[in-house]
Point group: C2
Chain length 645, copies 2
């Protein structure tokens, strides 16, 4: 057991009984992050997402108001708290819901890849060298390499610094290596400063995770907009921009994303109080177009049939080759992809989910503008990508918006009452992808939407919320401020929010594309949907979706909800694994070589499947799903206490 | 037997009976060089060095005037000709004196390293790729690498060119690889253009050898002054310059040598009619200071005790890392050194001489401002360097000069006649190192110099040429034009040329330092000079020295002259070997690790040995040497016909 120093408080992480010493007074979420515990916190610890919950077995603090917004009384009694709302005070024993934002804590995610021994390949070696003398005329490089035990490569910039560095320090210095290459020479007292960063370059969002590679702990995390959004919202518009502008266009796109990544890294470094020049390794994931643009490699061929990327395999570079503002000789690993539309982000997720390692039939899904699908059938793997369109991003939805303050992100119909959960503490301004999914799912469940997707009036009291007819019909989700409705708190801006018939049609296009992709994959692999052992939902967005809703709109084939597992930002998690373990990159390479890519646009049956899959489940199917759920009977119902009341 | 095309003439190289087809009308030396035959030609084929001799067994051309200048009548009858003086006319069978400028053709140099199979590591692969299609969505890189049979690394600049290169050429192109790295993409019809260059960076001279790596043949050779001469004549003055000027000083020195090498390469490329961007490999040798300066690595520590270099091991770089104007991704190999004063030039010579590969005691000597000595004792190897000073360069000699037109480079005393051989067809202007050596040796042999190095008058008729007394005494080598003396041909500028008493003292310092080094090495290894099986003289300068003279001044311990072998530019030869054979670099690394370096300045007995070794041989020793020579009786006397008459 570690010795307790003053102002340190002992926390025990269950069930492993791992002992941590946390700084008294520090924010608990931050303290846990610092200790390498991957607790999701999409809202960045401001208490608005509810995903950073932990369960106190001993030493629970008094519940905060914020706890009550996201947790029901049963949960609060059981010791659940949002870690971002509490400070470290007294010793405690806690359970951490690892790596998932799922509300259902009963699903044990025991199959995710965890590093047992982690070795990033970055190492620091304090050296006390004997200065040259009559009896020791070894060359500087030889002196250095022999002290390191041999096998060190010395690049030219280090060679040039070496004679001065040795003599200025009296032959006492620390050497930083990445694999066998010497990447930095440090004054002796800075022996522990080695950091690494994992970057997930999304079309919309850049996410970064800063790690202390000395102890393997995460010390900062940050997300920001991809500055390329100024050029275009999706990959195709950016490729077109580059194509039209020629070489400079792609150079400009590269420069935008580099600036974004550099700013992100600088922010994290500032937060952790370190210099960016102490960052010696970076792993990068993203979709293929994003990674081509990062490298300033023309991705035009990805946009046109037969959709071929220039690059599929992983690439290792030095930071200064790209212009990344970390240690100049830092190793940058761009992780490998499967095809032009199934990228390193998906491969990283496959790794994190340990896909293909089990004798089971598993489906990995990343839902967004593009839906990527990987089906693992007892070790064999098949991948495809399908264009879902912008509905999930809220872009083609009448009052659609991103998952920011004011977005309806959850919709429940409880008995006969409609409950809309809004992000932030002000009123609703619109609806985001997860809210859209819930709204369609719940209205289909009570029958106010029929299986073809049409809004229809029934005897249900909520029928009263339907206005208009036919293509102009719409359903009132949130009444504006004036009406004194369900909006939690009066804000500056609380309009009425509707789900329109057209919104439902847009949603059907998106979900139909993904479901059709799933059907093609199952057919291709020769398995039935009933055979699926587990559906893994990757990606930050996908993980924010209610599994029940995915079933009730028929985006997923009918399976027991317990078989659905949300992985959180699986791409980022995979990138973090590769950052901390040098053996991951070759494993990823193996993964992509073992995966068969299926090009949906070349599958003849896809269009007809797509049209069929736009349908919502039939009444019988809905009934069946509800029965399944009751049969399971182990669902924790989280609807209570979460209403915008 | 190859088919004879029009205007091609068949030459047979004996004793191997290798058949060559040479272009009719071409200069024979050039034609032989083009076929990869390493015929020495320090004067660059202008007929003034006499080293490019070949022996016609059949088809000898009519002797030219120039032949008679360097060859005696016996040799001319025997078929010897200077290859630079003749054109290819009719079929012939010739012997080539491989790799040596030695006049004595009886010493078979059968132990030099020759490449049996040569593989430079540079290869070119014409590829006819299938364009992507519905059934083949492989990434560009994957398509390329699979066509190459796998295992190809693609650096970022190539990756960026790849999509355009593939599509512009209709997926037909040639790929150039160095080892497993792709370094260039070529239009399909240029499949054979791969070249390499070996560079020897001397303190005074840059020498370059351009090879067609497709067939392993040398296509151009060139030498030029090292532009750093403008900064200082020796390594120490250049290091001091860099030290005084700080970082910019070394950067300036680097830029000078880079310019020099780039100009040399461009000249050779122009001569061979190729583009410098077709040069994909460069091997570089030189003394350690020269190589540090090439890399812009501060060599200051080499200049001060304990004389430690920064770099000893070999370095492999890309050409664009250094600013070399060849293919940007060309592989540049800086070959390894042994110590701060025993450099890659010596190691390359050791390799070329196959030193340490025989069960024998062999001494390798490179004579210049610094004398480098390597002693091999049945596989064990010892190396040292000794500062001979500038006498051999002619710098501290009253009428000293470099081995250029007008330099007395050979001095013979035949019976009672003095014969001075002058470079070029004009009169004597001064004396170069080899002439100085000969003059001292010959005057010591006839007794006009005593064993202490003093000029003295005897009954010998040449005593009349001694003028003055004591420290002011001097010996008249060449009478000026007015006197109508031994000068061959009246020129614009034919002064009297003297060997002064001071010149002899300077010479004694130089030869004493080298001999003392040899003595220390023998003592260190525990062997006697009588045990030496062979003395190998490396370096262009050393190889221009008469072995007999080296013995008669006591620069070498007394051994049979037949045991002395001149290697020519052994450094350049070693660099060429490493250029053409990728397995050489690791072999050099092994060589340096197996060689024990002895620092003479730390050897207590060195100063006293040095003083003792400044003495010239005694009368008895001279007599003994003459007897040995008579006993051998196999020496070809080359004195006749070589006088400046």
């Amino acid at each position: 057991m570690p010795k307790v120093r003053q102002q340190e408080v002992q926390f025990t992480i269950l069930p492993d009984e791992k002992e941590l010493l946390l700084q008294a007074g520090e924010n608990l979420l931050v303290a846990l992050h610092k200790n390498g515990l991957d607790i999701p916190s999409p809202c960045n610890g401001v208490g608005t997402c509810g995903q950073c919950r932990v369960r106190f077995e001993q030493g629970a603090p008094t519940p905060a108001d914020g706890d009550r917004r996201f947790l029901n009384s049963q949960e609060i009694e059981g010791g659940w708290r949002l870690s971002c709302l509490h400070r470290v005070k007294r010793p405690a024993k806690i359970y951490v819901v690892s790596q998932t934002g799922r509300l259902d804590t009963k699903v044990r995610i025991d199959h995710l890849l965890e590093l047992k021994e982690s070795s990033s390949g970055v190492s620091v070696h304090p050296l006390y060298l004997t200065p040259p003398g009559r009896d020791d005329q070894r060359a500087d490089t030889q002196r250095l390499v022999e002290a390191l035990g041999g096998g060190a490569a010395i690049p030219l910039p280090i060679l040039r610094r070496l004679p001065t560095a040795l003599r200025a320090s009296g032959f006492v210095l620390s050497v930083v290596r990445v694999e066998d290459e010497i990447v930095d020479l440090l004054a002796s007292d800075r022996a522990n400063d080695i950091y690494g960063v994992a970057i997930d370059i999304g079309t919309t969002t850049l996410a970064g995770y800063l790690f202390d590679l000395g102890n393997g702990r995460q010390v900062a995390v940050h997300a920001d907009r991809n500055p390329q959004l100024a050029i275009g919202g999706d990959v195709i518009s950016r490729i077109q921009y580059g194509q039209e502008k020629g070489k400079e266009g792609f150079a400009e796109l590269q420069s935008l994303v580099l600036n974004g990544v550099n700013a992100l890294v600088e922010k994290m470094a500032g937060e952790a109080g370190i210099g960016t020049s102490s960052i010696y390794k970076m792993t990068v994931v993203g979709n293929p177009t994003m990674l081509h643009l990062l490298l300033n490699v023309d991705p035009t061929a990805i946009a046109n049939s037969p959709y071929v990327p220039v690059l599929r395999d992983g690439v290792a570079l030095r930071a200064n080759e790209l212009g990344l503002a970390i240690a100049p000789l830092a190793r940058v690993e761009i992780l490998p992809a499967i095809s032009g539309y199934v990228g390193a982000d998906i491969v990283a997720g496959m790794l994190y989910a340990n896909l293909g390692e089990r004798k089971a039939i598993e489906l990995l899904l990343d839902i967004g503008t593009n839906g990527e699908i990987v089906l693992a059938v007892e070790g064999r793997m098949f991948a495809c990508a399908t264009a879902a369109g912008p509905a999930f991003e809220g872009a083609s939805i009448s009052q659609g918006m991103s998952a920011l303050d004011g977005a309806i992100h959850r919709v429940y119909i409880h008995d006969q009452e409609l409950v809309c959960s809004v992000i932030g503490d002000k009123g609703a301004r619109g609806i985001c992808g997860s809210g859209l999914l819930d709204a369609v799912a719940e209205l289909r469940t009570i029958g106010l939407i029929d299986k073809s997707g049409r809004l229809r009036r029934t005897k249900h009291p909520l029928s009263l919320r339907i206005e208009g007819e036919g293509a102009k019909a719409r359903f009132l989700l949130v009444e504006g401020e004036a009406s004194g409705g369900v909006v939690k708190k009066s804000g500056d801006y609380t309009p009425q929010v509707y789900l329109t018939q057209k919104d439902i049609r847009e949603f059907q296009l998106a979900k139909g594309a993904i479901r059709a992709g799933i059907e093609v994959m199952l057919e291709h692999a020769g398995v039935e949907s009933a055979d699926i052992d587990r559906v893994l939902i990757g990606g930050a967005f996908g993980s924010s979706l209610r599994p029940e809703s995915l079933l009730h709109v028929g985006l997923l084939p009918p399976i027991n909800v317990e078989r659905i597992v949300s992985l959180g930002n699986s791409a980022g998690q995979g990138a973090k694994l590769a950052l901390r373990d040098r053996k991951i990159a070759p494993r990823l390479q193996q993964l992509i070589e073992e995966t068969e890519y299926v090009e949906l646009s070349f599958i003849k049956s896809f269009p007809s499947k797509f049209i069929k899959c736009m349908q919502l489940p039939t009444d019988e199917q809905i009934l069946q799903l509800q029965l399944e759920r009751l049969k399971g009977g182990i669902e924790v119902d989280n609807h209570e206490g979460k209403a915008v009341s």
